[in-house]
């Protein structure tokens, strides 16, 4: 048999061979990306996040710019690579969107699930809940200065019932977003490995002020509440280092 190399017309093997090499290489790169994200396999997107909610969150956090064609650009990645001499710290920002518990009748409850896929060994440096308050047309003039007290009850994971409270007084001049610090509650949730964070949102004075917090409302996806968790890799002793 004429060896593949010298037989010009037998070159047919070449493209297949190089295609196989490329396919192997693509698989290797895929594996590399998943390893670096600490994932076993790519996530299975069962319920896509409503586009309106995603665009709102990314715009609010400048985490990404959404272009006309729908593509998203990350500002810190505008075409240049980030060089640093010291070991760069691996930081994560997790944006989790609120979901409503069908079982729970209360209109004021919602929950977040921050999966641990790719988030092992994370230390929560900051966590904030973003809530949108909508102002309804008010009949009386006095509600022009609409002062309300918002109470966010967060269920402490693993305690079966204890709720912690984050309280904030707001003066609502127009509809808009407001943030509530939940670092302790989310840090506790991460520490126990329980990734579900149950919340109950109460607003004293909202009725009189003709205002209401938008929770999980299918007809108002752009104002779905979201939780922003800033985290970094925990100290190295826990991390498995490849030799």
């Amino acid at each position: 048999a004429v060896s593949q190399e010298t037989c010009a017309s037998c070159g047919i093997g070449k493209p297949e061979e190089s295609a196989r090499v490329d396919a192997d290489f693509v698989e290797a790169v895929k594996r590399h990306i998943l390893n670096r994200l600490q994932m076993r396999e790519r996530p299975n997107i069962t319920q896509p996040i409503p586009k309106a909610a995603m665009v709102t969150a990314l715009k609010k956090l400048h985490a990404g710019k959404v272009r006309e064609d729908g593509r998203v650009e990350i500002p810190s990645l505008d075409g240049h690579a980030v060089h640093s001499n010291e070991t760069p710290e691996e930081t994560s920002e997790i944006i989790s969107f609120a979901e409503a518990d069908e079982q729970q009748s209360s209109q004021s409850s919602l929950y977040f699930v921050i999966s641990n896929e790719g988030n092992q060994n994370l230390y929560v440096t900051q966590a904030n809940l973003w809530l949108y308050f909508k102002l309804l047309p008010s009949s009386s003039e006095k509600s022009a200065r609409r002062k309300v007290t918002v109470k966010v009850f967060c269920q402490e994971p693993g305690t079966g019932g204890r709720w912690n409270l984050v309280e904030k007084r707001l003066e609502l001049k127009r509809s808009g977003w407001h943030t509530f610090p939940l670092t302790e509650a989310v840090r506790a949730a991460f520490a126990t490995g329980d990734r579900r964070q149950d919340l109950d949102v109460r607003c004293e004075g909202c009725e009189a002020a003709s205002a209401l917090p938008v929770l999980v409302a299918p007809d108002d996806e752009a104002h779905r509440p979201f939780l922003v968790v800033q985290a970094r890799q925990a100290d190295n002793k826990h991390r498995i280092r490849k030799r």
Binding site: V82, S92, I94
Partner: protein, 115 residues
């Protein structure tokens, strides 16, 4: 810091870009739209080992010490490895209702060298 252009067999950086759309990953990776999976390849002849600057490393320092003592570290060839890496920022969906923005260090090979 050489770029592989097919004309030399010396240690160089081979650029390799993967468009996430072509591998069906653009449904869960929001940004960037692809990954520079560059890699290093090529030979490191003796005269290239220990190239000063970013390529020199502890290994090269040891090899030079051997040379100064007249001991030829025959088996200690230098190898063509990444000598400058950069961080990649990624924005992606995970398998819950989350968007994750992550700065993954040492993800993109910017330069190769013999060390």
């Amino acid at each position: 810091g050489l770029e592989c252009d097919g004309t030399s067999s010396l240690c160089c950086r081979q650029q390799f870009y993967i468009d996430f759309r072509l591998i069906g990953w653009n449904d869960w990776i929001i940004a960037p739209s692809g990954y520079f999976g560059n890699y290093c390849e090529g030979s490191c002849p003796a005269y290239m080992a220990g190239v000063p600057g970013s390529a020199s490393s502890f290994h090269t320092a040891v090899v030079n010490q051997y040379r100064m003592r007249g001991m030829s570290p025959g088996s200690m060839n230098s190898c063509c490895i990444p000598t400058k890496l950069s961080t990649m920022s990624m924005l992606y969906f995970d398998d819950e209702y989350n968007i994750v923005k992550r700065d993954v260090p040492n993800m993109i090979v910017e330069e190769c060298g013999c060390a």
